[in-house]
Symmetry: C2
Subunit: 249 residues, 2 copies
């Protein structure tokens, strides 16, 4: 088997945030595999087959990518952000572990990307500058009580928190519940940042407090950051800066 499988992070949207390492594997690939909007970020060219699929079909997509690599193709599975953070890398390894044992000897590499969390944090300052956690608020793949438990423990640990997939049309009520839990645990003055589609032309950022936050401020393109008890807002003309100091008492 001379094929290879690379799981590559395209970053949050801006081409200037794609690493040279990822650009090079995209230029050498025979097959690009992924969710349609991410595959469309890779320009068509002779010798390149682009395989798009729907968002929910992660395991089928992973098995397809492994099959093509085993057949000798140079396959790149693309994710936005970083492929290891709530993206395709875990799905590939799930398919690898349960699939054909010969797949384990394939040349498989994960190439990191600028995650939505890091891009959102940079856009507003440094809200993740001290200990933090990162939680996927979707209950598609885990029970809601586990999410609530993690929110409660993260607040008790006084972590800053980054939230992926805060709110979808299919489950609008989850994020409202999460905001209520966070308000109870952290108080209404706690800083919250809604960073939508950072690094794209549709980017928007809102800095407010848990007391003033509304569920409608988030959608599936929004990365939400809740500060720790020490997180500070620096007001100035225009967007404020938000940061968490390096020290804790």
């Amino acid at each position: 088997m001379s094929g290879s499988l690379v799981i590559a992070g395209l970053g949050p949207g801006d081409e200037a945030l794609v690493t040279p390492e990822v650009s090079q594997v995209l230029a050498e690939a025979t097959d690009i595999v992924g969710y349609t909007p991410y595959v469309e970020r890779v320009p068509a060219r002779d010798g390149l087959a682009r395989h798009s699929s729907d968002n929910r079909q992660e395991i089928e997509r992973a098995a397809h990518a492994l099959e093509m690599a085993a057949a000798g193709r140079k396959v790149v599975v693309v994710s936005s952000g970083d492929p290891g953070v709530f993206a395709m890398a875990a799905a590939i390894f799930e398919a690898l572990e349960s699939g054909d044992s010969a797949w384990r000897q394939l040349d498989i590499r994960v190439l990191p990307g600028i995650s939505a969390m890091l891009a959102a944090s940079a856009r507003v300052g440094a809200p993740l500058g001290h200990d933090f956690c990162c939680i996927n608020l979707s209950d598609n793949l885990k029970p809601w009580p586990l999410i609530e438990k993690r929110l409660r423990l993260a607040a008790e640990a006084d972590f800053a928190m980054a939230f992926y997939n805060p709110r979808s049309k299919a489950r609008p009520e989850g994020f409202a519940k999460a905001l209520n839990s966070l308000r109870d645990a952290c108080g209404p003055e706690r800083v919250i940042v809604f960073a939508r589609a950072v690094s794209t032309p549709e980017a928007s950022v809102r800095v407010t407090t848990l007391g003033d936050a509304q569920p409608e401020m988030a959608d599936m393109r929004t990365l939400v950051i809740v500060g720790s008890s020490l997180t500070r807002v620096i007001e100035r003309d225009g967007e404020p800066f938000v940061y968490t100091p390096r020290s804790a008492p």
Copy 2:
């Protein structure tokens, strides 16, 4: 004031992991500021002043960078990895908040980088593929009992955990205590990854269990990842893969 201040992430070491956005600001800078080994990653050229300082002098370095930007220079403060994760961005905002109020109107931007955490995770597979936390194990800027508390709560939340600054020559005993706490909370079978200097020529990776982990397996260039209860190891010829499934029961 026509100067500017950019806090830029150089990624974990490999030049192929520096984003084009960061490469461009480095090419246009008049002044580079940072810890000596990071400043040395930016080649000398006419018109560029490079200001190196020791690791501990973060606030002095931040104030110096702000002063130069206020004087009209195009200043880039460099961090390895991502500047917002236990690096220079928080120090800049601390200096900004307590310093000259005119500084607040400066053109200040943070440019994200590939963090050590994302590079280490990608190198071994996808151990951060589900909810996780990120903790700085140095007690230079926070009390040790707070670190212990966070370890206990992170284990209770069943987060995967990424640890920065696990062990220095000046404080070798902290990481031994942390390993003991984690062993008590997570059991001896729990997966632990020692990922040293990933993406550099000195890179090395070791995958083991908390039961077999020794404090000496980490130094200040090591990023340590402890899996959640669901984290899996896929054995194969050569380095195994480590991943955390997307689903939790």
